[in-house]
């Protein structure tokens, strides 16, 4: 008799087989096995379509229900869920869309998806209450000769998303960008943040985005300033520092 693990493996393989396919395990009684298996096949894909439609409403509206359903069905087969928590599923949907032939011509689509995933993530992030005064105090307490070597930690409620396409406008309009061409080289440099009264999407100048992105990847303040100045030689550290501490994006300093 096949073991529990074997039976479950065969059931799992049958789930991803086309509708009507005969499963490689025996079903009790005179029941038509393919028909019964189809109930599960339809249910799991419908479940994923519903879940990802909730996470990616703009993608669904842009491509339409049929194309969205086909994309999700293909995504589930290519990159199955690895978690019993459905809320964890879908982080790579954007990257998948770039390689999904029917939608690959919509070049901006993966970046819109990354924006929607960022919104989803910050909605589930830890509630570290903004405390700008504390960060400023801690910064003031650092000896001047050590400042270059410190890092700055971004709030868990913040994500940075950039794109060569005007994804914020596309996301807001939730309609197809007919041209599919980049509007300009720095069309979207965005900070997605969950504030106490909801999600805020802030458009950043190139230098400030480069500075935050460097800090988010663990760079020291000195290296982050270098990155910002490469984007714009006139980078204003003092102003950017105060605004990003003030709005809660920078949550803490990290001693070098």
């Amino acid at each position: 008799m096949p073991s529990l693990a074997e039976l479950q493996q065969r059931f799992a393989d049958a789930l991803y087989a086309p509708e009507g396919a005969i499963p490689a395990f025996a079903v009790a009684g005179a029941a038509p096995a393919p028909e019964r298996m189809d109930i599960y096949r339809r249910a799991i894909f419908a479940n994923y379509r519903k879940a990802l439609a909730a996470t990616y409403p703009a993608i669904r509206q842009i491509v339409g229900d049929a194309a969205f359903a086909a994309a999700v069905n293909a995504y589930v087969r290519a990159q199955p869920s690895a978690s019993g928590d459905l809320n964890d599923y879908g982080d790579t949907f954007g990257a998948f869309l770039a390689e999904h032939p029917p939608l690959a011509a919509l070049r901006y689509l993966p970046d819109v998806a990354r924006l929607e995933w960022a919104i989803d993530e910050v909605n589930r992030a830890a509630d570290d209450a903004p405390a700008p005064e504390r960060v400023l105090e801690a910064l003031a307490a650092v000896a001047p000769e050590h400042l270059a070597g410190i890092g700055l930690r971004l709030s868990a409620r913040c994500r940075l998303v950039s794109s060569a396409y005007p994804i914020l406008e596309i996301w807001q309009a939730r309609a197809s960008d007919e041209t599919g061409a980049p509007a300009d080289a720095a069309a979207a440099m965005l900070a997605v943040r969950r504030d106490p009264d909801g999600i805020v999407i802030e458009r950043l100048p190139g230098d400030a985005f480069a500075w935050l992105a460097a800090l988010a990847s663990g760079a020291t303040l000195a290296r982050a300033i270098d990155a910002a100045q490469r984007a714009d030689a006139a980078f204003d550290l003092g102003r950017t520092l105060h605004s990003q501490i003030g709005n809660g994006t920078i949550a803490a300093i990290v001693e070098g």
Binding site: M1, P2, S3, L4, A5, L7, Q8, Q9, F11, A12, L15, F25, A26, V27, A28, G29, A31, A33, E35, R36, M37, I39, Y40, A43, I44, N47, Y48, A51, P80, S81, A82, S83, G84, D85, L86, N87, Y89, V122, N123, R124, A125, A126, D127, D128, A156, R157, R194
Partner: protein
């Protein structure tokens, strides 16, 4: 790194909650919250879903208790978790998990379990339940309630897994019977015996879904009253009611319709046999206005109240 942090916090929560009796046996918090259990015993609640959260938070309808899907509150923070923190001040809560994959031959997902433990420590639910099913194998998840082959091997496996979960949470859980659309030829144990034996061997309580019993009775051709007769009354700690849809020869447990007349009748027979039990209305597809759920709960309440009257 974030996973480790979760586990540490969850473990701390457990040590605070686990009480040790004079005999040295671990007393589950379920025992210490028996006042809540008693309050819920004859009460019909509603499964809280996202379209109703805002309304329930602002209007505080007179519903005796609420049940939520545990995983939807696994987040580190944010509006969903804040809503639950708020609601628990006015409503006893039940955490109903859909993703523990109790019956899977894969190792138990410790990170998933730690998130459930963290949530339970945070909201102190009156009840914690999971499903008698599996959801993934070989690391691949399907995020659905998949059918078990009812064999001795599967029974021993689920008994051990329920034990692992109960030990990690420091409390007894309830396990719910699921709707199924196929049965394995290898099965050697009727579903009702499997469910009853699981409760006896693992010490878990049962969350008996009366709609699922009806759905399975039709899909597999058995007598639902035979099922009820096999279930030990003292193990039944909660009852679920929901609506099904018909698809050809099969009943599909969609949770997308009112409770059917034949399910109400089966429910009344279940309450007559088991006594009043906390009862919950579930609705997950084409979710109607909250008042519709409240009316379904009121119908269940009337049946519970009748049984009280008869008992007196």
């Amino acid at each position: 790194m974030r996973q480790d942090g979760r586990q540490v916090r969850a473990a701390e929560g457990l040590s605070e909650n686990a009480l040790t009796s004079a005999a040295g046996r671990t007393v589950r918090p379920a025992d210490s919250s028996s006042a809540v259990d008693r309050a819920l015993r004859g009460a019909a609640g509603v499964g809280l879903r996202s379209p109703h959260i805002r309304k329930v938070r602002s209007e505080r309808p007179a519903i005796p208790w609420l049940e939520v899907h545990s995983e939807n509150y696994f987040a580190d923070g944010g509006p969903a978790v804040a809503a639950l923190d708020d609601l628990r001040t006015d409503y006893p809560l039940s955490l109903h998990g859909v993703g523990m994959s109790l019956g899977s031959a894969d190792p138990l997902d410790r990170a998933h379990l730690a998130k459930l433990a963290r949530l339970a420590a945070r909201v102190e639910p009156a009840l914690v339940s999971e499903h008698l099913c599996w959801s993934g194998i070989g690391g691949r998840h399907f995020n659905d309630l998949l059918p078990l082959p009812y064999t001795e091997e599967a029974l021993a496996h689920v008994v051990a897994r329920v034990g692992e979960v109960q030990d990690a949470l420091g409390r007894d859980i309830l396990v719910e019977n699921v709707s199924t659309y196929l049965a394995f030829a290898e099965a050697t144990i009727p579903e009702w015996e499997f469910v009853a034996e699981l409760a006896r061997r693992s010490g878990c309580g049962l969350l008996l879904d009366v709609n699922n019993i009806h759905v399975n009775a039709v899909n597999h051709g058995f007598d639902p009253d035979r099922y009820l007769a096999a279930i030990p009354a003292d193990k039944v700690a909660e009852i679920h009611l929901a609506g099904f849809d018909r698809s050809g020869d099969y009943l599909i447990d969609t949770h997308g319709a009112p409770v059917a007349p034949e399910v109400w009748a089966l429910y009344a027979r279940a309450i007559a046999r088991f006594g009043p039990r906390p009862t919950l209305i579930e609705w997950d597809l084409d979710i109607p206005e909250f008042e519709v759920l409240a009316r379904e709960a009121a119908t269940a309440q009337a049946i519970l109240d009748d049984s009280h009257a008869i008992a007196r």
